[in-house]
Point group: C2
Chain length 200, copies 2
DNA sequence: GTCTATAAATGGATAGAC
DNA sequence: GTCTATCCATTTATAGAC
């Protein structure tokens, strides 16, 4: 069961908990019950392993993007309950997705020293999700569900609320369901209040 | 000029750029033009140095808290321009303060493995500033400057906007004035729009 | 494709001279 | 309070057997 995929999964798990410099190749191999030379058969070096992980998350981002695109169909009107439900769903299914969440932890460390990691990080937690939010808010504006915002402020404030709830409660512990529930509760409250401010 | 304070400053600078595990005692001493044994005269070990840094930031948090308390005097009314100005000031003088900013970077890494660091981090970027925001919003509600929020949602959304602007633009590069200006511009737009929604 | 063994470098930490 | 010198553990990475 020790294929390349599994090695990457274990490496990601460890890297997300301490950052790549604090995790030795020995640590990874220990968790895999393998010797270092076995891992070096699959990956040129530690950086090569990191690069393979970056490619994995880039692929996942695109999968997620198209999933959002397909799910995207604004109804004839959006009630506050629907808005809250969709927002919590986004938090749970995207940011709190175990793999996404581990990448967020890992990349938030790596990006300080690795510009490639920084790019991936920005795409993962800003670029892609913000684009999706802006798309939805544009449509809601057009259909007069919400007030007209100067620029993209509503979409950005909306996403800031969700990302902040994630950072404050879940970051680094996506498997702690109590933490996830706290974040969901926070998003519920704040999105409900925010939506009632901008709703027409 | 190589007193304990200076050693801490240089260590903080390096730790904030890569995290403590990625910075060796040798690196720190190299930057100080000192031998390791000189540093070990002042600090028992690497962890002792880290602990001294945590104490420094805890002290700074309290200094900042009382500075906010003293500056705190809500006028007879708060115009949108005043609100924007205060918000940008908070971003620039607190989150973008070079020492605070370096601690944010460093602690965001350390907290994954060090629960003490996690506590300090939460106090620095959530507990203390949120308390201050909630205090101000409470007064503004009482004086009917803003609508009545269910719970503390307005204060929390307000702070989410500012923290998000910091994270998105400044994190890890507080000395990049272009990045700081971008964050300030973002806060200006979004706070202006948010305040106009809640203002009475 | 995984193992044993080992090389070469780096890291934390201390002893003892000045 | 800082320096030289050194110790020992850990780490990345490779060679060669199976």
């Amino acid at each position: 069961m020790n294929n390349k995929e599994n090695m990457l999964a274990v490496a990601l798990d460890l890297f997300s908990k301490k950052g790549s410099t604090a995790v030795s190749v020995r640590d990874i191999c220990g968790a895999l019950n393998l010797k270092e030379s076995a891992l070096y058969y699959h990956f040129k070096n530690k950086q090569d392993l990191l690069d393979a992980l970056y490619q994995q998350i880039l692929d996942l981002i695109e999968t997620m993007r198209s999933r959002f695109d397909n799910a995207f169909a604004v109804a004839t009107s959006v009630s506050t309950e629907e808005m809250v439900m969709v927002s919590c769903g986004f938090l749970k299914n995207y940011l709190c997705n175990p793999m996404v969440s581990k990448f967020i932890s890992m990349l938030s460390i790596e990006r300080l020293t690795d510009s490639k990691a920084n790019e991936v990080y920005n795409k993962l937690i800003y670029k892609m999700p913000l684009e999706q939010c802006e798309k939805v808010f544009n449509q809601m504006e057009d259909r007069k569900f919400v007030k007209k915002s100067a620029g993209k402020n509503y979409a950005q404030i909306y996403y800031a609320i969700i990302l902040n709830a994630y950072n404050q409660n879940v970051y680094g512990q996506c498997e702690n369901s109590e933490a996830v529930e706290k974040a969901v509760a926070q998003v519920s409250c704040q999105i409900e209040e925010f939506y009632s401010l901008i709703r027409i």
